[in-house]
Structure formats: structure tokens, C-alpha cells
């Protein structure tokens, strides 16, 4: 395994508020890495730096040896695709029309989508089980269906790195593992590298090869879920006391929050 995404000494601040400070992280080709951290720890900022929405104040971001911030937006979008946390729902567009937007980085200014682009969209929509929804207006889709359509749009970009910003944030308990199972299958089939900001530590442990804990603008801990998700690490990064158990089926760490009630027995 070789590192495909490398961040070195990454720094970023919104005005005077420093969000990232000397962050270094390497993501290996084909792996699924979970990015966890407290609210405001900078998970989304990190993803926005990698996807080129923000420019780093200092440090480097490289994908397969190419300096990402230095690329034109179009070239960057051919390498990196993003599934946003709360996708916008433009009015009057069908699911297919939205997925076709993912072909933009492969098209010139005056070029229209051709059969090759339709084929890429069909593949992406079949992987996310949304091809049957292709001609439905976006506004008629449920939250989970829409989420899958946005994943299809990212896949239609045919990039090498997929960034997910809390992919299960607005989904119910049945849909959460379903989406992550789907990502897992897509990763196996397309060998795309996945970096996902995750809110739910237990789900992250269940689905990610490695987990990076973001704290105070840098990576606080990095490694296999079982090694990283310890009560000490979680307490330091989240300021929360937790009990770490073991998943009865998958034998991955299960993170259970402890409140003050626990003392009463």
C-alpha cells in the first residue's frame, strides 16, 4: 500500500481563529479512512482544503504526487469528488441531470454531455441503485434517495479520491449502515480511496480501516479503530467520558457515552 493523499504541515485559519495547525496525514490508496473529532475540530475545513474550496494558509496537499491547491478547479475535480453534508436540491432538475453535473470536469466550455458521459452516469447510478430514479425530479426523492443520487454524482466524476462529509448525518438507523455498506461495495468495485468525516464513532469503527482523530488543529491519534478509540483518546479529543465496549457481531469498538447518571448505579 502506498499513500495516495499526503498532507504536510497544513495550516488554516478563519480570520484570527486558527482551525488547523501543522496537520500531517497520509491516506493510503484504496483504503477507507474515517476522520473524527469534536464539533468545530476542523473536519469539514480539512475536507474543504482537500477539495479546493479553501486554500491552505501553509503546508501542502498532494494527491498521487500532484499539488492539489495549485490545480485548476476543473483538473482538481477530475481527481477529487465530494459528497456534501447537506446537499442542495436545485429546483426543476431530475436525478440524472444532477448526476450529469458530475461530468462537468470532463467537458469543455462549449461541449455537451455525450454518450460516454451518459454511460459513466449510468454506471454510477447503478452502483448507488438510483438508475431507476433517473428521470424523477429531485424534489420528489426521499432524503436517503437523494443522498444516493449525490453519491452517484461524485462517482460520475471518476476521480481517485472520494470525500464524504458525515454521510449518515441526516439518515435513520436503517439507512445509516445501508449507505456505508454501499460505499464499502463501491470502494471494492472501483478501488477508489475514501476519506470520510464521521460523527458516529461506533459506525466509524465498524466501517473504516483506519481512524484519524482530529484535535487542536492536528491529528491527535491515527490507526486501526481498536487501537485509536480508547477512553483516554476520546476523553482528550471530545472532552467526554465514554465506555468502550466490543461489538457483539463485528468485534469492533462500540463507543457508549457516559453521563452523570452512571454514578447512581
Amino acid at each position: 500500500m502506498t499513500a495516495i493523499l499526503k498532507m504536510k504541515g497544513l495550516g488554516f485559519s478563519y480570520g484570527s481563529r486558527v482551525v488547523l495547525n501543522g496537520l500531517s496525514l497520509a491516506v493510503e490508496e484504496g483504503e477507507m479512512m474515517g476522520l473524527v473529532g469534536a464539533n468545530g475540530a476542523g473536519k469539514t475545513t480539512l475536507l474543504r482544503l482537500v477539495s479546493g474550496v479553501l486554500k491552505p494558509r501553509e503546508g501542502r496537499v498532494e494527491l498521487a504526487g500532484v499539488d492539489l491547491p495549485g490545480l485548476r478547479p476543473r483538473d482538481r475535480a477530475r481527481l477529487v469528488a465530494v459528497v456534501p453534508q447537506s446537499p442542495s436540491a436545485p429546483q426543476g432538475f431530475t436525478a440524472l441531470e444532477l448526476v450529469l453535473m458530475g461530468r462537468n470536469p470532463h467537458l469543455g466550455l462549449l461541449q455537451w454531455e455525450g454518450p460516454r458521459d451518459l454511460e459513466a452516469c449510468r454506471r454510477a447510478m447503478e452502483l448507488t441503485l438510483t438508475w431507476d430514479l433517473a428521470s424523477r425530479p429531485l424534489s420528489s426523492l426521499s432524503g436517503g434517495e437523494r443522498q444516493r443520487v449525490f453519491i452517484a454524482r461524485a462517482l460520475a466524476q471518476e476521480g481517485r479520491l472520494l470525500l464524504l462529509d458525515e454521510p449518515t448525518a441526516h439518515l435513520d438507523i436503517g439507512y445509516q449502515p445501508a449507505i456505508l455498506d454501499m460505499i464499502e461495495e463501491i470502494r471494492k468495485e472501483t478501488r477508489i480511496t475514501v476519506l470520510a468525516a464521521m460523527h458516529d464513532l461506533t459506525l466509524a469503527a465498524q466501517y473504516c480501516h483506519r481512524i484519524a482523530i482530529l484535535h487542536e488543529g492536528a491529528i491527535y491519534a491515527l490507526g486501526k479503530p481498536g487501537d485509536v478509540l480508547t477512553p483516554e483518546n476520546v476523553s482528550a479529543a471530545f472532552g467526554a467520558s465514554v465506555h468502550i465496549g466490543e461489538h457483539p457481531v463485528y468485534h469492533t469498538p462500540v463507543v457508549l457515552p457516559l453521563g452523570r447518571r452512571g454514578d447512581d448505579g
Partner: protein, 365 residues
């Protein structure tokens, strides 16, 4: 939600789902051809109506007579030639150009700002142009120079200056927040309108030329007016059409558009420039004609598609036809006098807009 059950859909379920088609050039051209034909019919009919009525068939002959290698027997009075080519057609063609320009600029602004009630005057072009024209009309400055009216030039300069001010106020280091641009445009517009009122009140009592210009109209149009605007309209329209596919990507939020490979800031600058240039040119020869830039794109969205590659060119045709018909009403309804065409478009546009509100239930901002 049954997703896990559907994990492996039966192979035969994976077929091109109905309607999953790409936008094709034949689709667009066939619709454009129909719209263009309708526009030509409107132009011919409208050109024939006036104090002297010329039947459509004779109109066709008069137009065909101009074609090279074609000589028709002159079965119509000589004066009709003059009426058509010197009086009616300059006016009708200018209405086509101005209507098309306002409609395509309106559609572009609505797409760019993701705001269905954005119109071409939103960010200050109109009031700026109004102020430029008013300044010229109420002061001692000469209105004609070398036989050329300075009014369009003053209006054009005023309009572009107002947009530039709004743009430079809204511009920040990170880019151009469009909400700030709209607010800056509104503020600049209010300032310019206040200045216009002040100038009118303080000036010579006869303010009718200013008011007539502000309300918009095509009275006394000559071919020269068409020649003045054409060089500005053509590049503006070409740029907007060229960026129509990219405009679709502006319908998701700006960060997403960036992640999909759009150079968002450059595109905004180019499109605001093109739409403002086009609008300012249109306003400079016709005054402030409201509602065309709102009605035409909405009508196209109701009937055809939201894809900007369809929306922009078709809006242009609809806007052109609408303005020709409005001008026809304006110059015939109180004949021999004339109404400002802006009054007619407002009378059509107000109710149409209310209908839209009722139909959609709400306007998303």
C-alpha cells in the same frame, strides 16, 4: 428502508429508465426553430399594423422584394416601402433586440443568483442608466453632438458605473458574495433614484422628456439606434449562451459548483459583466422597460425546461416577441398618441407575476 433488500437488483431491472435522455442539439434546435418562426410572424404582423394598415401578404412581398435576385411586381403603393423600411421596421427590430437582451440577461441573473425574482435591473444598471440620462437631459449639456444623440451614451455609462460601484463594494478578498452584491445594488439603486427625483424637482418645469425616457419606449426609432446597440448586444449574448451549461451548475451551491470543477469567481465576473453590458446597451436606447426580463424566462420554465441551454435562447425569443407585441399595443391603443411601452409591459407583467406566485405558492429566495 428496504435498501439492503434491494442490494442486488435483478439484472433486467437495470435498463435505461424512461426519460433518462441527454439534452440533444436537435431537441434544442427544433424548439428554437418553432420559436423563431413565431417571432418572424409576430414581426411581420406587427410591422403591418399602424395608422396605415398593410396586410401580412403584402408585408411578405415587401420584405421578399429586398432579397437579391428577386424582383417582384410592385402591387403596393410606393409609400408603403417608406413606412415599412424607414419607420416600422427600425422600431420593431429594436424592440426585438431590446426584448431579447432584457430576457436573456434576466434569465442569466436568475440563474446566477439562484433567485427567481432577479431581473436585469437588480444590481443597479437601471437606476444608474436613469441617472446618467437624467443628468444629460436636465443640465445644460448638449444632447446632440455631431448629429448623434448623447443620451444612449450617458445612460450606458451611468448603468455600467452603478454596477461597477456595487461590484467593487461587494467584492471581498475571498470572492464575491452574491447576497452582498444584491444588497449593494439595491442601495446604489435607491441612491440613484433619489438623485433622479432631486434633479427632476430642481430642474426646469418640463420634465416630460425625462419621465418618458424613464418609462421606456421606442418612439422615433431609427436604424441608427439598432446600429448603436448591436455591437454591445452580440458579444454579451454570445458569452451568456456559451456559459449556459455552466449556469446549470450554479443551481447547486457555490462550494459544490467549485468541487464540480467550476471556476466560480471567474464565471461570476464574466456573466455579471456580459449581462450588465447587454442590459445597459438595451436600456440606453429604450429607457427602463420593466418585467420583460422577469416574464420571459418564467414563461419558458413553465412550458419547456429548466436547463439553461434551453432557457437562455428560448427566453430571448419569447422576450423579443413579447416586447414587439407590447410596443404594438403601446403605439396603437391611444392612437394617434402613444403610451410608454413600460406601462404596457407592467400591465401584463404584474398580473402574470401574481399568477406565478399563486401557482408556485411561494418564491424561493
Amino acid at each position: 428502508m428496504g435498501l439492503a433488500r434491494n442490494r442486488r437488483p435483478p439484472r433486467e431491472a437495470v435498463h435505461p429508465s424512461p426519460g433518462a435522455r441527454l439534452l440533444s442539439l436537435p431537441y434544442l434546435s427544433s424548439h428554437l426553430a418553432v420559436a423563431l418562426l413565431a417571432l418572424v410572424v409576430i414581426v411581420i404582423v406587427a410591422g403591418g399594423i399602424g395608422s396605415v394598415y398593410i396586410p401580412p401578404l403584402d408585408m411578405l412581398k415587401i420584405v421578399a422584394d429586398k432579397a437579391p435576385l428577386l424582383s417582384l411586381e410592385h402591387t403596393w403603393p410606393e409609400s408603403w416601402d417608406t413606412i415599412i423600411w424607414q419607420i416600422r421596421f427600425p422600431r420593431v427590430i429594436l424592440a426585438v433586440l431590446v426584448g431579447g437582451a432584457l430576457a436573456i440577461s434576466g434569465a442569466t441573473y436568475q440563474g446566477l443568483f439562484r433567485n427567481p425574482i432577479a431581473d436585469p435591473y437588480l444590481i443597479g444598471v437601471a437606476s444608474g442608466a436613469g441617472l446618467g440620462a437624467t443628468l444629460l437631459l436636465v443640465t445644460e449639456l448638449p444632447i446632440y453632438s455631431h448629429g448623434l444623440s448623447l443620451l444612449p451614451i450617458a445612460a450606458f455609462a451611468g448603468g455600467l458605473l452603478a454596477v461597477s460601484i456595487a461590484y467593487s463594494i461587494a467584492r471581498q478578498s475571498g470572492g464575491l458574495p452574491l447576497t452582498t452584491l444584491i444588497l449593494a445594488g439595491v442601495a446604489i439603486s435607491s441612491l440613484a433614484s433619489a438623485a433622479i427625483s432631486l434633479l427632476i424637482i430642481r430642474s426646469d418645469p418640463d420634465v416630460r422628456p425625462v419621465l418618458a425616457w424613464l418609462l421606456g419606449g421606442f418612439g422615433g426609432t431609427q436604424w441608427r439606434d439598432v446600429q448603436i446597440v448591436l455591437p454591445y448586444l452580440v458579444p454579451g449574448v454570445v458569452i451568456m449562451i456559451a456559459y449556459s451549461r455552466i449556469l446549470n451548475l450554479f443551481q447547486v451551491d457555490e462550494d459544490e459548483a467549485r468541487q464540480l470543477g467550476v471556476n466560480v469567481e471567474r464565471t461570476k465576473l464574466i456573466l455579471i459583466g456580459a449581462a450588465s453590458l447587454t442590459t445597459a446597451a438595451a436600456v440606453s436606447v429604450s429607457g427602463l422597460i420593466g418585467f420583460v426580463g422577469l416574464i420571459a424566462p418564467h414563461a419558458v420554465r413553465l412550458i419547456w425546461r429548466h436547463d439553461h441551454r434551453v432557457l437562455l435562447p428560448l427566453s430571448m425569443m419569447v422576450g423579443a416577441g413579447f416586447l414587439v407585441l407590447s410596443d404594438l399595443v403601446a403605439r396603437t391603443i391611444v392612437s394617434p398618441s402613444e403610451l410608454p411601452v413600460g406601462v404596457v409591459t407592467a400591465f401584463c407583467g404584474g398580473p402574470f407575476f401574481l399568477y406565478l406566485l399563486r401557482r408556485r405558492g411561494r418564491v424561493t429566495l
